[in-house]
C-alpha cells in the first residue's frame, strides 16, 4: 500500500514539473511572436552603464576596492535591469485576469503552484536576454569579465532565480491590489527602494546603519553579491555564492508558496 502512495507522490511531482514547463512555454511562445519588448528593455541598462558608469569611473568617488567602478557597477545593473523588467510582471497578471484568460487556467486541473512557478520561470527568460545585452556592453566598456564556464552557468541560474523571485513578488502584489492603476503606482514605489537599498550601486559599508539593515534583508543584495563574483574577474563575494544562492532559493520557495495561495483569489 505504501508503494502506491510513493507512486502517487512521484507522479504528482512529475505532473507539477511538467505543468510548470507548459506554463513557461506559453510565455516563451508569446515572446517569440512579439520580441519588440525585449529590444526596448535593453535601452535602460545601456544608459546606466554608459552614463552613470562612465562618470563615476572617472571620479573614483565610491570605494570599490581593487575593482574599477564600471566593473563594480556592471553586475549591479544586470540585477537592476532584471528587477525593473520583472517587477511589472503583475500588470500582465491583472491584464489576463481582466480578459478572462486567467479564469480558464484556474479551471484547468493544473496545480496552482505550477501556474505561479511557470510564470516565474518565463520571467527568467526575459532576465536572460538582459544578461546577454549587459555582458556585451560590459565587454565593450572594458569590464574585466570572468569567462569561466562554471561561473557563467551559475550566473545564468542566479539571473533566472532573481527574475523569478521578483516576478513572483510582483504577482503577489497584483493579487493584493487587483487593478492596473493601483499596481502602476505601487510598482514605482517598490522598485527604487529595492534598488537603492542594495549593494548594486555602492558597497553596503558606506551606508548609514538603518539603510544597512534594509540592504541585508533585501534579496537583491544577495543576487548582486553572487553576480559580482560570477561576472567580474577579481571580484570577491561578501557572503559566498553558495550562501547567496541558498538565500535566493529560500525566498523564491516562500514567495511561490504565498503566490500559489493567493493566485486563485485574484479572480474573486
Amino acid at each position: 500500500m505504501s508503494g502506491s502512495v510513493w507512486m502517487d507522490t512521484i507522479s504528482a511531482i512529475f505532473n507539477f514539473i511538467d505543468k510548470t514547463f507548459v506554463i513557461a512555454e506559453i510565455e516563451i511562445r508569446k515572446l517569440r511572436h512579439d520580441y519588440f519588448e525585449l529590444i526596448t528593455r535593453s535601452i535602460q541598462p545601456i544608459l546606466w552603464l554608459l552614463i552613470l558608469g562612465q562618470v563615476f569611473n572617472r571620479t573614483h568617488a565610491i570605494p570599490t576596492g581593487n575593482l574599477s567602478y564600471i566593473s563594480y557597477l556592471a553586475p549591479g545593473i544586470l540585477a537592476q535591469s532584471v528587477l525593473f523588467v520583472v517587477i511589472f510582471f503583475g500588470i500582465a497578471i491583472i491584464w489576463e485576469r481582466d480578459l478572462g484568460i486567467l479564469h480558464k487556467f484556474l479551471v484547468s486541473p493544473t496545480p496552482r503552484a505550477a501556474l505561479v512557478l511557470g510564470k516565474a520561470l518565463s520571467a527568467g527568460v526575459r532576465g536572460l536576454s538582459q544578461a546577454a545585452i549587459i555582458y556585451i556592453i560590459s565587454l565593450l566598456l572594458g569590464v574585466q569579465m570572468n569567462w569561466h564556464i562554471p561561473a557563467l552557468a551559475v550566473m545564468l541560474a542566479v539571473v533566472i532565480l532573481g527574475s523569478g523571485l521578483f516576478a513572483t513578488f510582483s504577482l503577489i502584489v497584483a493579487c493584493i491590489v487587483k487593478t492596473r492603476d493601483r499596481f502602476m503606482g505601487i510598482g514605482q514605489i517598490l522598485t527604487m527602494p529595492l534598488f537603492f537599498a542594495s549593494n548594486a550601486l555602492y558597497p553596503i559599508s558606506i551606508m548609514p546603519h538603518w539603510l544597512q539593515f534594509f540592504s541585508h534583508i533585501n534579496p537583491l543584495t544577495y543576487e548582486v553579491d553572487a553576480l559580482r563574483a560570477l561576472m567580474v574577474s577579481g571580484a570577491v563575494s561578501a557572503y559566498g555564492v553558495g550562501t547567496d544562492v541558498v538565500i535566493l532559493l529560500f525566498s523564491m520557495t516562500l514567495l511561490v508558496g504565498i503566490g500559489a495561495w493567493m493566485y486563485p483569489r485574484v479572480v474573486i
Binding site: N15, D18, K19, V22, E25, I26, R29, K30, H33, D34, D98, L99, G100, I101, H103, K104, F105, L106, V107, S108, P109, T110, P264, V267, I268
Partner: protein, 267 residues
C-alpha cells in the same frame, strides 16, 4: 441521470446574496439555460460551479464530485468558456489549443490529432497559424469553445457565449453548440440574457432573479405557465424577473466596464 446537482447554494458579497439558497439539477445530455437580467447572480453561480469561487453555504455535485472537497476531480471533467475574452491574442489558434491539450494531460501521441480535429470542427483550420489578435469575434468564440472541449468534458459551462456578437456570428455559435452535443453528447450549461438563444438552444430553462431560480422548465412549459395564449419567452421573462430596473443593483462599474470591453473586443 443527473450530472449536476445544486443544493441550497449561497454566496454572499458583504450582505448582498448574489446567489441565494439556489437548488437546481441538470440531467446528462441536456442543454440547460440560465436566464436572468444583469446582476441576477448567473456569473457568480458559474464561478462557484467551476471551482473559481467558494460558496458561503450549501453545496453542489458534478458527476458525484463535490465542488469543494473534490475540486481537482471536478476540474478534470468540466469545460469552461468565460464570459470574457479568454483566448490569448499573442498566440496562434493552434498554440492556444496545443498548450491546453498539454495542461489537460492529453497523451502526447493523441494531442496533435485532437487539436486538428477541434480546428476542423470549428472551421478554423485555415487560420490556425495566425495570431488570435487577427481573428474576428465569432472566430475567437469558436476557438474558445474548441479549447474547452479538447479533453471531452462531461459538462461544459458557457457564460454568455454570444455576448457582443453580431446576429450572423451568434447563429454560427448556436450551430456549433448543437454540433458538440450531437458529436460528443456533452451536457451544456449556459447563461444568456437573449430569450431567442434560450428558446433555440435549450432543452430546459431556469429564470434567475435576485440570486434565486424563480422558475424552471422546458421553454414550452414556461410559456404555458404564465397563462397567456401564444406567450413569448420575453413575456415569460418579464413575468418572472419583473420589468424591475432596480434589479441592476449590485453590479459594479468595474463589472460593467469589463463586459463592455469584452463586447467591444469581440465585436
Amino acid at each position: 441521470m443527473t450530472i449536476l446537482n445544486i443544493d441550497r447554494l449561497k454566496r454572499l458579497f458583504g450582505t448582498l446574496a448574489a446567489v441565494d439558497d439556489l437548488t437546481l439539477s441538470v440531467d446528462e445530455g441536456e442543454v440547460f439555460g440560465l436566464l436572468g437580467p444583469n446582476g441576477a447572480g448567473k456569473t457568480t453561480l458559474i464561478k462557484m460551479l467551476t471551482t473559481l469561487l467558494p460558496p458561503t453555504s450549501g453545496n453542489a455535485e458534478i458527476a458525484g464530485y463535490d465542488i469543494l472537497r473534490h475540486s481537482g476531480d471536478v476540474r478534470r471533467i468540466i469545460g469552461y468558456v468565460p464570459q470574457m475574452l479568454s483566448a490569448d491574442g499573442n498566440l496562434t489558434g493552434y498554440e492556444n489549443l496545443i498548450v491546453f491539450a498539454k495542461l489537460y494531460n492529453i497523451p502526447r501521441t493523441e494531442r496533435n490529432n485532437r487539436v486538428r480535429e477541434a480546428l476542423q470542427l470549428m472551421e478554423l483550420t485555415d487560420v490556425a497559424d495566425k495570431t488570435v489578435r487577427t481573428y474576428s469575434g465569432g472566430m475567437i468564440r469558436r476557438l474558445e469553445i474548441a479549447q474547452s472541449m479538447l479533453h471531452r468534458p462531461r459538462l461544459l459551462f458557457l457564460d454568455e457565449p454570444t455576448v457582443g456578437l453580431d446576429p450572423l456570428a451568434r447563429g454560427a455559435v448556436w450551430e456549433y453548440i448543437e454540433l458538440l452535443r450531437a458529436e460528443y453528447g456533452t451536457t451544456i450549461f449556459l447563461t444568456t440574457h437573449y430569450m431567442e438563444e434560450a428558446d433555440t438552444l435549450c432543452t430546459r430553462i431556469s429564470i434567475m432573479h435576485m440570486g434565486k431560480a424563480v422558475v424552471t422548465g422546458t421553454p414550452a412549459e414556461l410559456k404555458e405557465s404564465i397563462g397567456a395564449d401564444g406567450a413569448t419567452l420575453d413575456q415569460v421573462f418579464a413575468h418572472y424577473a419583473g420589468a424591475d430596473l432596480t434589479s441592476e443593483n449590485g453590479r459594479g462599474y468595474r463589472e460593467v466596464s469589463r463586459t463592455r470591453r469584452t463586447a467591444r473586443r469581440l465585436g
